[in-house]
Symmetry: C2
Subunit: 149 residues, 2 copies
Amino acid sequence: MPASPAEASTQIDRIHAVGARATPARIAVLRLLESAESALSHREIEEALATGFDRVTLYRVLDWLVESGLGHRITDGERVFRFSLAAPANASHAEHAHFRCECCGKMFCLADIPVPAPALPAGFSGKAVEYCVTGQCARCETDVSSDES
Amino acid sequence: MPASPAEASTQIDRIHAVGARATPARIAVLRLLESAESALSHREIEEALATGFDRVTLYRVLDWLVESGLGHRITDGERVFRFSLAAPANASHAEHAHFRCECCGKMFCLADIPVPAPALPAGFSGKAVEYCVTGQCARCETDVSSDES
DNA sequence: ACGACACATGCAACAAGGTTGCAACAAAGA
DNA sequence: TCTTTGTTGCAACCTTGTTGCATGTGTCGT
Ligand SMILES: [Mn+2]
Ligand SMILES: [Mn+2]
Ligand SMILES: [Zn+2]
Ligand SMILES: [Zn+2]
């Protein structure tokens, strides 16, 4: 089933809104991230998009995503970058906490949980804060508890 | 100037205390991290230790450092691990905040700043928290301000 | 002091994630 | 439709970190 034209044009508008060209790779990545429940790595995106976009093209789309402000990049603590969409159009992408599941490896944006403000030593000036919790996500938790021996 | 024997024996004792063999590479890394003001990457350690320890040996020493509990590892958000010593012998290495300077790239352990406890959504269970602030460190701040045009 | 043994080291090869240079290509606007 | 300028694909490369295996060495018992 091909993507509905209406859905695609939503993404095209978003791309044009930041003054960029709407290319198939960008549209596909936007659509994928839109439907993702967790932040995705380059690898995951490459696999989800069965279409044969070149590795480098995807890297460049992801760079563009972040630079244009349409998405943001986080590091998952295991040396890989993960990407998700910024808050849809309206609010500026407020700083928020992240959660990484050690079981399934997924990375969640906890948009509801505010990041506590830092208290820095004298002379230090902070700009951004990264707050990431690791543990088990809701799904993995239930999977484990229903797997009693 | 060669390392004082007294200094070296301090490191040797620490290594023996965790039931490990005191090798030149381990002693050198411990001594270096002891005197470091910020968490060091493998690369930085390799360069600081002019001695020709093999790349892999240093990686293994760093792995051992963390596994033995003598040190801890953090990710600096740019896909590299950094290492620093755990609190010297006495207290267990409590969770603490980190600061990464965007200017000089150094990573500081803010041992005094406690990490705020997370409030997670239902079903999620957290184990560890990573709290890292990025900005400008005290030194870079003064360097910039004394560089007025 | 000596020897045995377990553990640590060096080397080479490998792996994953990401970047760069450049020629060919295609959105967007005229 | 044409032109322009930004984007793509490909090949090569880089950085960080890991693995296998033969050789070397710290430690402990004697
Ligand atoms: Mn996020
Ligand atoms: Mn630390
Ligand atoms: Zn999970
Ligand atoms: Zn600095």
